[in-house]
Subunit: 345 residues, 4 copies
């Protein structure tokens, strides 16, 4: 039996989640839902689009008029949720809207997956598959943490399991905005610091890994491709640089790429995923520059890149399995998701 999924909010994350759900053998994309017609919706639903023939719903009664005469909608989301035909709704609406939606999901008795823009208290569990899949089993709602936090949890969890992490400091060099918004929210020839220290990602890591002693500072730079993290920390147990590389190389949804083989910047990393013909060049993995992984005594360092548009997609798929309980083993869920999306491990 398939889990029946609706995606509400078809933006940068929502469209990817919807496409990913369609690729799961144990899931069915019942419908997508949005507030108004957009070029994105039109493209996804046209004959050559990846969601052709998917049912479109207005997210509310108020939104119906936005679609009139422009795009066909099958109905409104609250009614669909109450129909008994939906098991899980993935909320990918803009930051702040999710908490307005929460009562609607709860009233309908539908499980909900929220994204990392939401505050931690939106759901009982903040989630990264490899770190705490079990905690999300059969709960009513889960929050998949943000792209930056996901990348830190994956790599630090992996390091911590092997050698213990005493403390961590990470500088987050953030991409200014998503490529599609770069003409409206762009940044040009300047660097924008977040002067409140620590930035929110450090505390956010602790919603998944409560014992991690981490501080983060963030600056925004004029690029759209990917975030870059400079990570520095102290291990509990010393190891060699090569040992840490090996641990990371085998970590879940982590890849190591060599600067010496041509991965000199985020440009060539993204080009790799264009060349692999990943849809939308999505890099679901954290990409760590292999040579940057350095251990000196108990101090460790590395630099990694985060494709902000894509990294949380596999976690969202796993979260659907966890909350519905259709798969109780985390490794089996991760493996299913990975295979469907072309992720190697």
């Amino acid at each position: 039996m398939s889990v029946r999924v609706v995606v509400n909010g078809i933006g940068v994350i929502g469209k990817r989640v919807a496409c990913a759900v369609k690729k799961q053998k144990d899931m069915k994309l019942v419908a997508i839902s949005d507030f108004m017609p957009t070029s994105t919706l039109r493209t996804l639903l046209e004959p050559k689009g990846p969601l052709y023939k998917t049912d479109l719903y207005a997210c509310s009664q108020e939104a119906v008029k936005n679609f009139e005469g422009k795009m066909y909608i099958k109905g409104i989301l609250p009614e669909l949720l109450h129909s008994g035909e939906v098991d899980v709704v993935v909320d990918c609406t803009p930051k702040g809207v999710e908490k307005l939606n929460k009562p609607m999901y709860e009233a309908a008795g539908v499980k909900a997956i929220y994204q990392g823009g939401a505050k931690a208290d939106i759901a009982p569990v903040s989630f990264v598959a490899i770190a705490n899949y079990e905690e999300a089993l059969n709960v009513d709602a889960v929050r998949v943490v943000s792209c930056n936090t996901t990348s830190l949890v994956r790599t630090l969890y992996t390091t911590d399991q092997a050698f213990g992490v005493e403390e961590v400091f990470a500088s987050l060099i953030r991409r200014a905005t998503d490529p599609v918004k770069s003409d409206k929210k762009g940044l040009l020839n300047a660097v924008v610091p977040e002067v409140k220290i620590p930035s929110h990602q450090g505390p956010d890591v602790k919603t998944v890994l409560p014992h991690m002693n981490i501080t983060t500072i963030a600056v925004k730079v004029p690029t759209t491709l990917a975030h870059v993290h400079v990570v520095a920390g102290k291990l509990k147990k010393s190891c060699s640089s090569e040992e840490l590389r090996e641990i990371l190389r085998n970590g879940s949804r982590i890849i190591l790429l060599k600067h010496s083989e041509g991965y000199e910047s985020t440009a060539q990393i993204i080009e790799r995923f264009r060349d692999l013909c990943r849809p939308r060049y999505d890099m679901y993995e954290v990409a760590v520059w292999e040579e940057s992984v350095t251990v000196n005594g108990k101090n460790f360092y590395w630099i990694h890149a985060v494709h902000s548009e894509a990294i949380v997609i596999p976690e969202t798929i796993d979260a659907i399995r966890a909350v519905t309980g259709i798969e109780t083993d985390k490794f089996t869920s991760i493996e299913k998701t990975n295979r469907s999306l072309g992720i190697e491990h």
Copy 2:
């Protein structure tokens, strides 16, 4: 029977040509060839890569040592060309190298397709499918013109057929470099004019459309996504803006996108092709902003975008059919190519 094709030079254009050849029912990709191992070659040939199991050749005896101990090569290109197992070589080597390769291709009696970086005299025919497919039938060599020239020929040929074009002036706002090279050949917060007027694209259009009265001026700007052309001209026969839009809308490999539907910049245009899951988000079509198509008396204007990495790929495939004569009707070849690449018309 399939045309047997080798692609020499696996960079931005070559890798796309190789992938496109693999999608043609009437062609066979015999091998790819290059000068040295690159991250691109490695990615293309790995198990999840689009050219997995394709034979790799060194482009010359001198190049063999570059691959030793790094990537397996099956042999060297000159020997392969002389083996009688290749009908056409597509030369996608860096600008200036193609003329060094020409004697090798001629000595082997293999037909050759060159790219637009080559000078016009490299081949007897400069080529854009819709404009002069017939001229390329069964010739020994063809030069597919550059991305900018291709976009101008497609749109101006179409306009000229319908209303006659008296004269044209185009300003080319060029992307600085390809995305993958943007950390090495980037441009940052400046605009670079080509002060020699006209720029080479105007004369280049005439290699395909000899009677077109065109002048071009080019400037380079800090973007990687696409070139943008501002086109202004005079028609021989007046028409309405809507009539010209209709003609362009039906033109070969031309699409009209509406600013009012969300295509406000090159960012949303490229995002469309990411959402369509085109490999590497390749836009093979010229994208004209619909509202910009304006006719005032006999004066006409429009603005179009050119995906420099991709636009010449379908022309290259058609050129292979033309030089080998396996398809003598241009519309049939164009239709085959379009269907294989997901182009609508």
Copy 3:
């Protein structure tokens, strides 16, 4: 006797106008006025700032509270204007605000200079010094046209006087925003066309040069330094490229810079004015790339750069002289302004 000037609105243009007024022997900067305290105001008024000890006024009674406890204000603008101590107010407020201010200026019987963001009907005369200084003599209000329009009027007026201009087409490659706003209104790796053709600058040129037959099309690109115009047109009387260069070289507030001497992009042009130690590197002149000035039969072409922050400053100073009638000869006013700002001719 000095003309007594107030500048209302201390943003990118207003701060420059205020500093330029201070440099005029026949003018006195009575005060500056603004809506709220900003880092700009603080910097200008600090001991090392260029407007140290200048009186600051709130632009209205409503604005007073914005300054309370933050910056000292001497009073409110309407009262100052009615005091009889002001001859001219230069309105540099954000687009759309100037028309709300107009009644205040008129009620006080103070002459007003508006900027090019205002609609043409804000004032009886739209102004570029070399083209129509005389029309502005002793009128009540003048609108100094925008940076792009100013550059076109200067160069086309000069060309027209010498050879006659039959028609003109200009592509405007616009800087995305001012440097100081580039973290809020930036543009990143995309090109944004204005799809309504013609763009407003063409008609705007005609507010100064009514008989000029001009069409403009604009696109926005990710740069902050300068606009670049690609100009193409037809002369009434043929001439050589060198003759047109000579005419432009001698034109008012036009400079010719050679690509071959290192001016390869807008970056080196701006660096020239940094090296000349112009305040804020302001380039008041239109900079034409010398080699780009090309005449072919009666067709002419050139490429020029416009420092959008600075080009209208000398025109604004001249406009003050014109409306007050303290200088009736345009060449004398231009010469005074030029000398005070370091402009050569």
Copy 4:
């Protein structure tokens, strides 16, 4: 008596040093020297240029021919150095050239100041005025450390004096290139990490502050305005955030700017120095975002900006005084330099 100074190499740093030397009452700019004519040299030496009438020398006999027929040179540098009319040469030649020049300076018995691109062993002392002025007194040669290192030394020395610094980790978010080179060495929409950890700046700090326990990691981003450093460390003696702010606020050549007063990015910081009419908007100070200065237990953090073109200029002037011994007190030299350049403390 004035110290007689020659500047060799008139690029981004050299032109600023020459202009700064001219402003010192106790120094005389004897000449400037370069390898070939450039637009920079032409601009500096034209009548409105800041070095008008300064003597220009070819840097060597071989360079003479580069100037022939292009720019007047008074002679060649080696002869000038041997003439007895020069006390100090400031070498601002491209990285790697300085070590070829060293024997020339030594043979002439002229003291030499090198820049931070040189290796530390070029001179017996690596120099930041506030940290080790005394060590440079009367030595034959001094190396002024690089812009990034200078900013770290100034701030960490200041912190260390007050509270003791146990260890430091800094992430350097580097501007891609200087504004004037951004069309040739630009970077566009990508982030480039230095994968060798630590980057060279950490060890370089130790050439001035040998006991500082510091590690640095650097990434390059698409901006020209300024470097940004994210600094994290541990104090020996705890203090409050406000105490550390106060110490930094009073540090030599350090300024604190408030995000809350409009300094939201490097764009507004640079704009401040444009508004102050600093030549070329040069910011000689390290600018620390005030709100970012945070102490938590013994952990401290801040974010600062470094104007790479300008920060080493005052140090270079101080170095001239130190090596010649005309001023033996560091605070007096710093005060003289500061006053001449408009630096407050």
